[in-house]
Amino acid sequence: MDFQQKHILGIENLTAEEITFILDSAESFKEISTRSIKKVPTLRGKTIINLFFEASTRTRTSFEIAGKRLSADTVNISASGSSVVKGETLEDTARNIEAMRPDIIVMRHNASGACHYLAERLDCSVINAGDGMHEHPSQALLDAFTIRQHKGRIEGLTVAIVGDITHSRVVRSNIYCLNKLGARVRIAGPGTMLPPGIERLGCQVFSNLEDAIRDADCVMMLRIQRERQGASLIPSVREYARFFGLSEEKLRLAKADAIVMHPGPVNRGVEMASSVVDGPQNVILEQVENGVAVRMALLYLVSGGETLSHD
């Protein structure tokens, strides 16, 4: 198929065919990372800027490695030490960066809609690496990729997502992505972390973890931000862990071959018991590995790469 998207702003505006095409493309990129020389000339001469207004290790590194393995020149800009602290507007920052003629800007920003804002104003491609509480499309794609790798399909599966649903961009992107690919999505969390109308995005809402994960094929646990403790969303991390943390015992409610996922970084002993993090059902590091392949595919596809020859 012909991939027409110039930007990757969210899963919401991708079709099932486009998502599948991205995942299929990622399959062929995955092999590159297993070679002794992990580099192909596909994006040689292209400039990619990772513009990160929020702290990130995993996502930023993953995009950077993805770009480098495709031979693009990658530059990282983080908000601290940039002109943002000098009071420059996002538009001015972006225009200044664009004046240096990058081909792709990968942006993470704490404001929902910031990537749409950028894409409306710039000529280069924009990839959303997480905007506020809105979307985190590359995460949902690597999650789908990982599920597909383990289950051979996505259609018909039941995926439970547990945690702070309100503040999670990972959830929104995953709900869109999994629905489009034919999976059933269940979500669970304390009432303070379930936003109104979330079911309209395509999920079944549970107020306890046990019901949500019962007979699920995949259990995705979300990181709990410790600062939420002070914001009256949870009384304590301890109580949260007791009711919404995934223990080995609770995990037995899911299918015997269920996989356990987490977008990272994990709070051991909070959303997941250490024994689950290290247990046989976890695929967390595979998610990270697949992230590079999926991001290589995204960078390649928005560059309008005509042929898939990367030798």
Binding site: T89, H109, A111, S112, G113, M133, P196, G197, R200
Partner: protein, 423 residues
Amino acid sequence: MKTLIKSGRLVDPANHIDEKLDILIVAGKVAELAPNIDAGTAEVINAAGLIVTPGLIDMHVHLRDPGLEYKEDIISGTRAAAAGGVTSLACMPNSSPVNDNLAVTRYIISKAREQGSANVYPIGCITKGQKGEVLAEMGELKEGGCVGFSDDGLPVRDGEMMRRALEYANTFGAPVISHAEELSLVAGGCMNEGPVSTELGLKGIPWVAEDAMTARDIMLAELTGAHLHVAHVSTRGSVELVRQAKGRGVRVTCEATPHHFMLTDDAVRGYNTNAKMNPPLRSQADVDAIRAGLADGTIDAIATDHAPHHSDEKNVEFAIALNGIVGLETLLPLTLQLVAEKVLSLTQAIALVTCRPARILGIERGSLAPGAVADITLINPNKEWTLDAAQLQSKSRNTPFDGRTMKGHAVRTLLAGATVFER
């Protein structure tokens, strides 16, 4: 100096008039209303095919003057008013400095008189500096020309303070205008809380943030017997609270804005900062409730909450964009839209933007009885036009209605008999 407005359909709800009448204006006042007045030496304005009404009144406007003239000033703001058919407006006190003292009140009134194109009635602060701590000198402010008191934009959080404000303002016969918002429930929200905020990942403001404060202030009005005016009601619950309070005789009035009866929070999709205002655009059920409240008289006035902002303040990430939209130049067509949709009769609609807000503010406007000041708006109700924000008279362009096709506009606006705007 005589002027004759000839052959128009006069709609003057204050005097129960809706018929073809000529209006003779002498020395800035209405001298005679009758069919086929002989022009004599008067200048004749042909109003055939037009609706003639008392000059419109917008009781909720931010003129941004003094101090924030890069957004708007008294000259541009009143010019925008005149272009929208508005001859009288009440301006909110959150200028810089705020209007909590006689010097600012006098500045506003004198600048408007000397250089403005509309009557400007200042609203004074409830509390000094809008800080909610000490009452402003309402007596002196009222004497100086303020027609009501509000800490608009900032609710008076302390219940005791609001109680005293109502009691004290009542001493001088002025209404207290409540910006009803319980900030602890707003909690950093930037749009209506609901499915759209969930989808967009924006922190929501629940309806209860408005209803809780509306309920408190109504009860305080009931306790004190003072006149409470609730600004820009946006929720189903607020409308119902006012309806019930009126039913038991509480002295409460309220207003609604055109955007709250025309738009829902769907307009925010795409992170449109021109759909960001406070109170936020709500759900369809709220829009329906406001329309019902306008139709049954619960809501006393349509006011725009004209809130000009520089494009730099809107052209940013949604969460940090400033609240508000300009409204003076779209008040009339959006109000007439309710007539076209058969929500209101023409008389009801005109009353909501003339005599009813005049009564709330206690100003001698909104009527064209003989002897009244000849503030008059001539309306072509059938003219279809497309709003081009770049063409607005306001200094600011922040409107969600840009590009929208509207029906009806003011073709001529007279202030004390003198034409201040003509299309």
